[in-house]
């Protein structure tokens, strides 16, 4: 039984480490900000901003260059986009922009447009896929250990 | 000839038969006594190839009980608690059907003779649905007679039979024995069994204990 708990303790530690790693990766690289957060916090370096292209503000110059306003809940953010030809750049569309915030010109310099992420679904799928299996395996191994102990204690196994 | 070697049977977590060893020679009738719930029927069903023993094996007429099942079945009749009769068919049709499945095709005269022998010839064309329990038992006996088995397994054969019926059955068993047949019957009726049984055993709590039949008193049994 001691071995059993040591093994499962190890599994739990590995699971926690994996979850922490994934969460850190998400926070550092994948989490997106709202336009108002960008204006207030003025983050340095590359960030992801989630918002909707405001109606009537989209101006396309050459292929791969555009300016528009990205609307958050209340604030809108002027954006200058320069990058690969934006297939899915339309007005009133919800987008994720990847780029840097220039505090002096108050313009967001976007270099790429991403698809709106659905991390909730991913997390849900992985939890649904792995958690029941882990619980089932835990219950089964525990029962096997108990049965084994019981057989050992009852001295029944010797006559086989 | 029947020889059981260490037959055991368990249902789920409970073992109902333990290590039954039994040898019955040709021309011999063995009576299996035992109170209700002593799994006499289970033992008979195992020998009738209807169930598989959990442990052990048996031989019948020199054939392996788990391998040569088809051959054993062709030489065996099991007069079970259920009579194996179809209610919608009449006596003749029942006989013809049951024997046809065993590969026999008795003539009308044979069937008539068998029905007369068990004294239900007058009801040959009546649906079995309208038969009484005793008549059904007699019809099942007539079926057994026509099949001419080498081994006869009888499960509580005297229930539902009246005195005349009992005598017909005993007469038939004697005939089989003189024909070198082997008979195994389960019962709890000492008086009716005594005249035909050569040897006897008591099955209790799943274990078989052989005893001389004279030592068995009818009030010992449930």
């Amino acid at each position: 039984m001691t071995n059993f708990y040591i093994r499962w303790g190890g599994v739990c530690i590995v699971a926690i480490v994996l979850i922490v790693l994934t969460y850190n990766h998400y926070r550092d690289n994948l989490a997106s900000l709202a336009p108002q957060q960008v204006k207030q916090e003025a983050p340095a370096g590359e960030v992801r901003v989630l918002g909707m292209v405001q109606g009537g503000t989209l101006e396309t110059r050459a292929a791969g260059e555009a300016t528009f306003s990205l609307l958050g809940e209340s604030v809108s953010l002027p954006v200058h986009y320069e990058g690969p030809p934006p297939d899915n750049l339309r007005e009133l569309k919800i987008l994720v922009l990847i780029g840097t915030w220039t505090a002096d010109t108050q313009v967001f310099e976007a270099r790429d447009i991403g698809i709106v992420p659905n991390y909730g679904f991913i997390a849900g799928a992985y939890l649904l896929g792995l958690l029941p299996l882990a619980l089932l395996l835990f219950a089964m191994t525990r029962r096997v250990s108990l049965l084994y102990e019981e057989i050992k204690a009852s001295k029944l196994y010797e006559e086989e | 000839m029947i020889a059981c070697h260490g037959i055991g049977k368990s249902y789920g977590h409970f073992q109902v038969l333990h290590d039954v060893n039994l040898a019955i020679a040709e021309g011999e009738c063995f009576a299996l006594f035992g109170p209700n719930g002593s799994v006499k029927t289970t033992l008979l069903k195992i020998l009738a190839t209807l169930e598989r023993p959990s442990t052990g094996h048996f031989e019948m007429l020199g054939m392996h009980g788990l391998k040569d099942r088809e051959a054993i079945r062709a030489n065996l009749m099991f007069l079970a608690h259920g009579t194996h009769l179809y209610d919608e068919l009449n006596a003749r049709e029942n006989l013809a059907f049951a024997l046809a499945l065993r590969g026999h095709h008795p003539t009308d005269r044979d069937m008539k003779r068998a029905l007369d022998r068990v004294a239900i010839g007058a009801f040959a064309d009546m649906k079995v649905r309208h038969y009484s329990a005793g008549m059904k038992k007699r019809l099942a006996l007539a079926k057994t007679m026509l099949a001419k088995p080498n081994v006869l397994l009888l499960d509580e054969p005297f229930t539902a039979l009246d005195t005349a019926g009992t005598e017909i059955l005993r007469e038939y068993v004697r005939e089989r024995l003189s024909d070198n047949g082997t008979v195994l019957l389960s019962t709890h009726d000492y008086d009716k069994t005594r005249p035909i049984a050569g040897r006897a055993g008591i099955l209790q709590h799943g274990a078989l204990q052989e005893t001389a039949i004279e030592e068995l008193k009818s009030d010992d049994l449930v």
């Binding site: 599994v11 590995v14 994996l18 790693l21 994934t22 990766h25 994948l30 991403g114 698809i115 709106v116 992420p117 659905n118 991390y119 679904f121 991913i122 849900g124 799928a125 992985y126 649904l128 896929g129 792995l130 029941p132 299996l133 089932l136 395996l137 089964m140 191994t141 029962r143 096997v144 049965l147 084994y148 019981e150 057989i151 050992k152 009852s154 029944l156 196994y157 010797e158 086989e160 | 368990s10 249902y11 789920g12 977590h13 409970f14 073992q15 109902v16 333990h18 169930e51 598989r52 959990s54 209790q204 709590h205 799943g206 274990a207």
Partner: protein, 242 residues
């Protein structure tokens, strides 16, 4: 061979499966969740594939094991093979249910619906129904010998039926619904292949490990109760002698 020697042996053996499963799954999870790029069409949601597809593959693998085990049981009548069949059916049912669940979660962001009568989802639903039927059937039989035999028959018939069900459902879908909803958007590029492979191998190993544990469980349970039953019967026996 004594029981505890058998168990020792199995336990030593199963360690390789358990450890291998853990390694593959950890590596697969890392590559799948962190180390691989998002898909061009599906974006981040494609990561659900790395858990969904291995679950589905493994449940099919499980059903194959069930069918082979059932044939083996009908041939050899070895009770421990039957314990294995019973174990693999329960595990297969769990894996199938989880594959369906993750498939539904994947369906919501990609197809914008939790459920669609897609050929694959439909045939997996039928598979799940067959497995549940198998497990139910086993609980309704009293004689363990009969239980094993009937289960084996159902498993074999179902296994033969599975490809026919799959084809009929696929034809039926293509008839009623053009390919607007399908997974053709996902082209298997090498970036997807590594985590998919790791997770698939990991899941198969995990399944084998769980199968070993569960078979052991059922076997020990049967053994313990059989022994207890025998002791109980002997107790009756000695009481009637006195």
């Amino acid at each position: 061979m004594t029981i505890h020697r058998v168990i020792r042996k199995v336990q030593r053996f199963e360690g390789w499966f358990g450890g291998g499963a853990a390694l593959c799954l950890i590596a697969g999870l890392y590559v799948g969740l962190i180390g691989s790029p998002p898909d061009y069409y599906q974006g981040e949601v494609v990561r659900i594939m790395y858990i969904h597809v291995p679950l589905a593959h493994t449940s099919l693998l499980g059903y194959t094991v069930l069918a082979v085990g059932s044939l083996w049981y009908l041939w050899k009548r070895d009770p421990i093979v039957d314990n294995m069949c019973q174990a693999v059916a329960a595990l297969s049912a769990v894996f199938t249910a989880l594959a369906l669940g993750t498939g539904m979660i994947w369906g919501k962001p990609t197809w914008d619906t939790w459920w669609t009568w897609d050929a694959r989802l439909t045939s997996f639903t039928v598979l799940l129904l067959i497995l549940i039927g198998y497990l139910m059937l086993r609980t309704f039989v009293d004689d363990p010998e009969k239980e094993a035999r009937y289960g084996a028959i159902l498993a074999i018939v179902g296994f033969v039926d599975l490809p026919i069900i799959h084809f009929s459902v696929e034809w039926w879908r293509t008839l009623h619904q053009p390919q607007s909803i399908s997974m053709r958007g996902v082209s298997i590029s090498s970036g997807l292949l590594v985590p998919l492979l790791l997770m698939s191998v990991g899941m198969s190993l995990l399944f084998s490990y769980m199968l070993m544990v569960r078979t052991q469980l059922l076997y020990l349970d049967r053994l313990l109760h059989a022994k207890k039953g025998r002791l109980l019967s002997q107790f009756h026996l000695s009481k009637s002698d006195s």
